[in-house]
Symmetry: C2
Subunit: 530 residues, 2 copies
């Protein structure tokens, strides 16, 4: 399949610019075919004008039709077949089974939002009927629901070229909400972007969506910030580094009209190992934790980058078992050269600190020409850990840091000192229960998801998922970027007061034609209003 390298400007493809770039394959240590052209100022403005023009049309498209659009995107992505898997593997250096799984997840997300739209209850319809005879004042009829916020800018992530990129969770939830999407494609996987964008445009045309409902562009760093600043854009979805996320956040909040930014940025995802869990399950935990650290070359926002335990014979025995398991892990190529360089530098910087010990590393050499990351486990005392802020900074890759606490109070203090996290995981046995409750309370306050007896990698796409947490894990802890609740990022409530029934949106009409659960006078019901 030949890649054109063009931008997707609404329904037109365009490459007017004179700057282009190529994707680079880590495993082959070479550039990949395809010249991808950075959008010009004119193309940039056209994209935003199209999104602006599409919004009033798209927001009026019935939810069931938007659902058809999302299902059609999933179908068209599947139709891309092996070509997508192949290109995506080349660009990400991730193995085919992972990409095939990620494709299933991406299509599953789109279908989940399609089902949510057909179910319809997500608009949170609330109705308080009029009481014209109420004293001292009559009560008006008021009906409230969620409506789309406007065009959304989506920044593709390097580490999920499908599930968090062009047709990923941000795009799926924004389109589901009724918002046009402008994707800024990640420079690591432009070919994947081109294939997926073509699938989305095909689906939009087939299901009769307005031009401008989706666009996808290659942008300079400067224009990436300009995208966030553009008055047409009403919200931003981003997954990536803390520094880039904060640049977008700062741009968004300093606009004349500030807008919400959902930036998922940085987490070290503490794993807390209690003594009795280690006594009972030392080997299993050692094995599973090692696997979680090196999964996907550690390139997950949920990578367990911090493991905390109180010192004891059990923890000593665990460390030995863990070191052994870890030695058996294999280096793997990283997503791109920059990430590989940053990983090596971060590991080097850690190891130059006198407080840090190396507990274990992969027994295999990492192949530099394939940009492989060498898995490593560092160790530090809790007091030293708390003494330097840089020890709690994320190392993006297959590295983790064991923090040894002298007692429970020091474990609690160490957790209290952490920044916000996406997740926290706890391994405990019934005999640990007395010490458990305060720890659960502390980590609930620090993280968006708390895992018992498991590992943070593997984020289920479902209604109950919370993938988001206190800053700097994300810029907005009220939001999730995974699961059906991700749709709430791109809506706001509007109340209609004393409206004639036929002028109301269907979700709020007396007859309840969508048959959705609504809060009517304080009671949740699907009954019509009579």
């Amino acid at each position: 399949m030949t890649l054109t390298g063009e931008n997707f400007i609404g329904f037109k493809n365009s490459a007017e610019g004179n700057k282009s770039f190529q994707a680079f394959g880590s495993t082959t240590n070479d550039y990949l075919p395809g010249n991808f052209t950075i959008a010009t100022k004119e193309e940039f403005e056209t994209v935003l004008a199209l999104a602006d023009g599409a919004f009033p049309i798209y927001r009026e498209v019935p939810a069931a039709k938007r659902a058809d659009f999302l299902d059609a995107i999933a179908h068209e992505i599947s139709e891309l077949g092996d070509a997508l898997v192949e290109r995506c593997c080349q660009e990400s250096s991730l193995p085919a089974p992972r990409i095939i799984g990620e494709r299933a997840r991406t299509c599953g997300q789109l279908q989940m939002f399609a089902k949510l739209l057909r179910d319809g209850w997500w608009v949170d319809a609330r109705i308080d009927v009029a009481l014209p005879d109420r004293l001292p004042l009559p009560k008006a009829d008021i009906r409230r629901m969620l409506i789309p916020i406007g065009p959304v800018a989506v920044f593709g992530a390097s580490n999920f070229p499908l599930a968090f990129s062009t047709a990923g969770g941000d795009t799926a939830s924004a389109l589901a909400a009724g918002c046009p999407v402008v994707v800024k494609s990640h420079s690591s996987h432009p070919g994947t972007n081109e294939l997926v964008s073509s699938a989305i445009i095909k689906a939009a045309k087939k299901t009769g969506m307005p031009e401008g409902v989706f666009s996808s562009v290659y942008l300079s760093h400067e224009d990436s910030v300009n995208l966030v600043k553009h008055p047409v854009i009403k919200a931003v979805g981003f997954t990536g580094s803390r520094s880039v996320g904060m640049r977008l956040f700062d741009a968004a909040v300093s606009r004349p009209v500030p807008i919400p930014v959902y930036a998922e940025m940085s987490a070290i995802n503490p794993v807390i190992l209690f003594e009795n869990a280690l006594i009972e399950q030392k080997d299993k935990i050692a094995k599973d934790l090692a696997a979680s650290v090196v999964l996907g070359a550690g390139q997950f926002c949920t990578n367990p980058g911090l493991v905390l335990m109180v010192d004891s014979d059990a923890s000593l025995n665990f460390r030995t078992a863990f070191a052994e398991q870890f030695a058996a892990t294999a280096p793997a190529p990283m997503l791109n050269r920059n990430i590989h360089k940053a990983y090596n530098e971060a590991v080097k910087s850690f190891q130059s600190a006198p407080e840090i010990f190396v507990l274990a590393k992969s027994a295999k050499e990492a192949a530099a020409e394939r940009y492989e990351a060498h898995p490593v486990v560092h160790m530090v005392s809790a007091s030293d850990f708390m003494s330097k802020k840089e020890f709690s900074e994320e190392i993006f890759g297959p590295a983790t840091l064991l923090v040894i606490c002298k007692d429970q109070p020091e474990l609690q203090a160490t957790l209290q000192a952490l920044e916000g996290q996406l997740t926290a995981s706890i391994h405990a046995a019934p005999a640990d229960e007395a010490a458990l409750k305060p720890i659960v309370n502390i980590v609930s306050d620090k993280a968006g998801r708390v895992i018992y007896g498991g590992y943070p990698t593997g984020v289920e796409v479902c209604h109950s998922m919370q993938h988001g947490g206190p800053f700097p894990a994300t810029s907005d802890a009220r939001a999730t970027s995974v699961g059906s609740a991700a749709i709430y990022r791109f809506v706001r409530p509007v109340a209609y007061q004393s409206f004639p029934d036929h002028l109301l949106p269907e979700a709020l009409q007396n007859a309840n034609p969508l048959n959705i659960l609504r809060l009517v006078d304080g009671n949740w019901t699907t009954n019509p209003i009579t």
Copy 2:
């Protein structure tokens, strides 16, 4: 009743500072009794340490107990009796029936949140049960609910000394959510604040709440910003001017750890009058609109400051009727001297513009020594209105601006050019319906609440109320500051994965002991999980 002028530092009263101020009564043109002492740096830090210490205790207080606390606050406020009404009238220059009504509303809000806590469904419990045999990967049990965000700073508003101040909607919703509150009392009504704060503290002690769950302080402008910047504070509620709101917003988003600010700031609340509505109901609309403009001396965030119509014989006739009705309105004293001065300056500035005509004003003189506002109606052509940004700035007081459009497209263009609004109101008759739909769409996109055949003043406290809108109406259009949904400002979701049942919060336990509606595997149900 003697006022101490002290700060409420947790359960202790304290006035260590050497700077104090008095309240001023507009109607008496004199200072009122009571010297209110600005909190010192030490008192300020103590307040925040107490809030920080109270949070882990208060968040664990069962919802039913928090409900008792809220009910007790309402009870203690009622127990303050006439002393509260009297002082509040003196400090606000609002008439006693209004203050009595506002007290009822304030207590009603507290009781509404108490009921919401007892109902319990508001935590948005979502459960997806485990599927250990799922292929290719087993599915973990995940359960998600809303938890409190942490200590909240509340800034009292001048125009609602009870309902948007010390024990107002921000405080009630934050306490309901499980968040300790630090109130920065408004300098216009410190005596009211002292009385209400004493009621809250009494209720906290009677219902066994932890010290620090509520504090109330008098702060310098500088320390008001420092309150927003303080690391203990996790969210901010504010109602007031755009300039102060934006100062707090900027402080909050530039913190090392940014926090959400719910600032309700500025709106002119367009009222759109269609031709046939004016033909059918000219006199009624003229009368009711005039009443809405001057209600409470126009000192409402929902004051109808902009009235739009297409020019026609009907609109000409309406203007004559409106001018007549408006002449019969009466001047009334304003909340404080600064607001009175700002009103007079804004009106003067409007009238100095050559594009602006005076259509009507109150036939009665305004008494300067009582700081009365003189009600006035200005008029401008739509093209002139759009030509100068200052014509769409809020005049806080009993003034409104009639905008005359030459046709429907100009009406639409004028609405499109508006900034975000709290409300938009539409008066139409069946014969106007063809022109109506595009207008409803435009204003739904601009405002938080759209009113048909009514006026924006009078904000019902209920589940379906949306009191919030796109910037600059509020700093966060996703939120409401009135109604039960206001609680969502001070919470965030957390997911528990694979937790043993007894370690889960009650809302998520299998047996559903709170008997709340939950989303279980995609279906809303109160059934237990078996």
